[in-house]
């Protein structure tokens, strides 16, 4: 009954899921922070770009984004992201799609974090003569980052669950293996339980641990 591990690469599939999640998390943190900086900055054109990006990307299903990277970018426009091997190129395209999608949510989380800092903090900082960079790096951002650990954790968990969408373009991660196993094996409930357990192990501890950290570091007001 438990001989699946010989025929199927369970750990390998979950490892791919973790890789997708980690790489996309790093990418979307970078791009999302840039977007947030544009949205709160003083240049109207950048604000407009940031707002438009977030509102468009948030309202498109991730499935459409991921499938577009494969069918649109790769197969129609011939963008291979530096690899001729289909598996590698699909993996990179999936990361690209996940980053493009998740960064909109990272941006919103960061922006709401900046909004939690009371106006008085920045006003006091300016009153004692700090300039924009100093206000941002010494006063506002340290408080904002402490406020967004919780919201960013939720984005990270949603991202981990969203990596399953990469199955739609054939990236060999957990959901694709599950579909494959269900098609070929009879023990449906056992297979479902294994994968459910795998995802619970990935998401629940992350949520509990980082949620606790978030509460610990949040500025009490």
């Amino acid at each position: 009954m438990f001989d699946f591990s010989r025929d199927y690469d369970l750990l390998g599939a979950f490892w791919t899921t973790v890789q997708l999640a980690v790489l996309s998390a790093i990418g979307s943190l970078v791009w999302g922070t840039l977007l947030a900086a544009m949205r709160v900055g003083p240049v109207p054109l950048m604000r407009g770009f940031g707002t438009a990006y977030v509102n468009i990307v948030r309202n498109i299903p991730l499935t459409v984004v991921i499938l577009f990277t494969s069918l649109g970018l790769n197969q129609t426009l011939g963008i291979k992201l530096g690899s001729d091997i289909i598996e590698t190129s699909n993996f990179r395209l999936a990361v690209l799609g996940l980053v493009a999608y998740t960064s909109a949510f990272v941006c919103e989380a960061l922006r709401s974090g900046i909004n939690t800092v009371p106006v008085g903090q920045a006003e006091a900082a300016r009153a004692i003569g700090l300039n924009f960079t100093q206000v941002l790096t010494l006063i506002v951002l340290p408080q904002a980052f402490r406020a967004v650990v919780g919201p960013l954790t939720n984005v990270l968990i949603a991202l981990t669950k969203n990596t399953t969408v990469a199955a739609a373009i054939g990236v060999a991660e957990a959901a694709l293996l599950m579909k494959d196993m269900i098609d070929r094996e009879a023990q449906l409930l056992l297979i479902a339980a294994i994968f459910a357990f795998g995802f619970v192990c990935l998401t629940l501890p992350t949520g509990l641990l980082l949620g606790w950290v978030g509460k610990k570091v949040a500025v009490k007001r």
């Binding site: 506002v140 629940l204 949520g207």
Partner: protein, 299 residues
């Protein structure tokens, strides 16, 4: 324009902003040109490929039937998930541990698992153990997955909605002699439903977006699934098809999002209610497994 982060701008800052605007405009223009150029090179901009979407055939043959399935699945999921969610949300607030603990476990479990996994499981379940017409099976699977996940998110929304009400409400109700379930039915739930309306509408956006998973992975004939037959019929207009489908999703979801924030603003300004609102921002928080901070505080 001033904000927390910067002062009202003087002449030098304004000059600098003009410079930044110029540089950014050049960067965006370069990007747009690159996209245009690569589309043009592959012949994706030819009028023949875009023309179908300005006639009725593409809409009546591919887009509208797909859109109907998308909306059907989303509506069914919401209608089934709402009462289930209310049940579990209230159960999690029960005084009896034997009700509260199992309900909590179920809610935490289904929030921790990807919707796609639930859908694949539902699909296999229906094909193995239940005599569902194979044509209807993808719809059943999609709705099952969406219901299991969204009922648990809605349970959290309901719980947060009830907890957001001032304690005086239930204390006063008990003081006039109402029983526990009367307090819930007549006092707490009606107010909580109002408070969580914006969150429920926001969750609708999540449901509409997640139906696309069924189209991509489970042969559910929804709007997403319309892309491939459509683009092969009209001469490989992949880019055009994706653009149109994405635009439809954007229009639907943007309308829902705007409606949710309008509702939220209205409820926050309202004088008649207790002023408790579970806003759209709270949904992301409630959708993740684990404990939550107080979500009722407004921005």
């Amino acid at each position: 324009m001033s904000s927390v982060l910067y002062d009202s701008q003087g002449p030098r800052a304004k000059q600098r902003n003009v410079l930044y605007t110029g540089l950014f405009a050049v960067a965006v223009a370069a990007l747009v040109w690159w996209v245009y150029d690569s589309l043009d090179e592959k012949g994706q901009l030819e009028w023949v490929l875009w023309k179908p979407f300005f006639g009725s055939e593409a809409w009546s043959t591919y887009i509208w039937p797909g859109l109907q399935q998308t909306l059907l699945a989303a509506a069914l999921s919401m209608v089934i998930a709402l009462p289930l969610g209310a049940l579990f949300g209230i159960a999690r607030l029960s005084e009896h541990a034997w009700i509260r603990v199992p309900a909590s476990v179920v809610v935490e479990f289904f929030r921790a698992i990807p919707v796609l996994v639930l859908m694949i499981f539902g699909n296999a379940l229906f094909s193995a153990y239940m005599s569902v017409d194979p044509d209807d099976r993808p719809l059943y699977a999609v709705v099952t997955g969406l219901v299991l996940y969204n009922a648990s998110v809605l349970a959290e929304i309901v719980r947060a909605g009830i907890l957001s009400l001032p304690r005086g409400q239930s204390e006063a109700a008990m003081a006039v002699g109402l029983r526990k379930n009367q307090v819930m039915r007549f006092i707490l739930l009606p107010q909580a439903v109002t408070a969580m309306l914006p969150a429920i509408v926001s969750q609708m956006v999540v449901i509409v977006k997640d139906t696309a998973l069924g189209g991509a992975v489970l042969t559910f004939p929804d709007l997403m699934a319309a892309v491939s037959p459509m683009s092969s019929y009209y001469g490989a207009n992949v880019i055009a098809s994706f653009t149109v489908v994405a635009l439809i999703y954007i229009v639907i979801n943007f309308a829902l999002t705007s409606f949710a924030s309008w509702l939220e603003g209205r409820l926050r300004r309202g004088k008649k209610s207790t002023g408790a609102v579970i806003g759209a921002d709270a949904v992301a928080e409630l959708a993740a497994p684990g404990e939550h901070t107080d979500v009722t505080k407004g921005p």
